[in-house]
Symmetry: C2
Subunit: 191 residues, 2 copies
Amino acid sequence: MSNTRERIVDASAELLRRQGYAATGVKQIVTSAQAPFGSIYHFFPGGKEQLGAEAIRHSGSLYELLIPAVFDPAPDLVAAVRAFFTGAAEHLWETDYADACPIATVALEVSSTSEPMREACADVFESWISAGLPRFTAAGLSDETARELVIAMIAALEGAFVLARACRDVAALAIAGELIAAATQRALDER
Amino acid sequence: MSNTRERIVDASAELLRRQGYAATGVKQIVTSAQAPFGSIYHFFPGGKEQLGAEAIRHSGSLYELLIPAVFDPAPDLVAAVRAFFTGAAEHLWETDYADACPIATVALEVSSTSEPMREACADVFESWISAGLPRFTAAGLSDETARELVIAMIAALEGAFVLARACRDVAALAIAGELIAAATQRALDER
DNA sequence: GTCCTCGTAGATCGATCGCTCTAGCGATAG
DNA sequence: CTATCGCTAGAGCGATCGATCTACGAGGAC
């Protein structure tokens, strides 16, 4: 019984989130995880690519938990959307603009260079969309409208993260949040 | 008289756009630019970081030209917004999901690791916002509303690029475009 | 006890990284 | 002509890359 494998995945996920795939070395991962070098290739015979893909899926499933955590206690759907963006802004600010989306950097990086990694990112995005969908349909929206709103929400969040991290300013997150909250309110009114 | 310097910047911009900063090697740049290795450090004594920052600013100013190119011939503001997103979707599809935003990948990568590069990305985003502003104020919107819409537009575009590149599907761009077009129309109606 | 398996541990591989260095070419100035 | 200067050209630096390899220790099966 050992938790070395978990430590490696956790450390990889953290490093990938902050510096991306290419800039993260295998040696840096084992140092950060306090694991022996050989264990990497014992647990991940596919090497860096396999480890990266697993770390992305791990990050994705953790981040997905934010959806019920934020949406369930909210009084209504629009408040939940708003809380989602303000929570993201707070966390970004608290970590000095380090912790934004755990997979976006890698998703852009590997899109044209590593098909297994690209697929892992695509699967994570799809799982987020699937997780968000029932929150919008439960409020009475059609499947189509709900899906469009969820995709718009994730896209607006990701784009606002890009601007916020580059400009060191969470204003984009507030604007994007209000935009999606307003669009959600309008969709509910037109119901 | 020589154009080696331009070739180096152009090649760097192209490679940074597709694979990011860390994955792009200096040797790969000189090979792609058909330039001698030593010329890199002749023109860019600051090394890879200086070259990267200049390539980002170069990409940024080229991409900024898209704003007048798309907005000026459009019949009205909402049509221009729509054309901006459909044009981006077409170009992304035509290049097999390689050419999305020329700086977003790098912006996320370097945000926590290289301050000069991060500043270059921030400057580019600021210049895009400044270039987009007059198009919205000219339609009669207040400075504040215009600025929020421009930031929302860029954020939605960037986020849709992330989803589109990862999932190999331009649907997110269409959804994001309609979202911003509708928000723009609403702002004009409430004027 | 003897195996056998799983996981630890790290030395070491060839390749590549960003970068420095020197040598030499070609055009212009005196 | 020679001298100078901008630029080309690439060999080679130490460091680090991802990956492979062997050796060893702990614990269970028999």
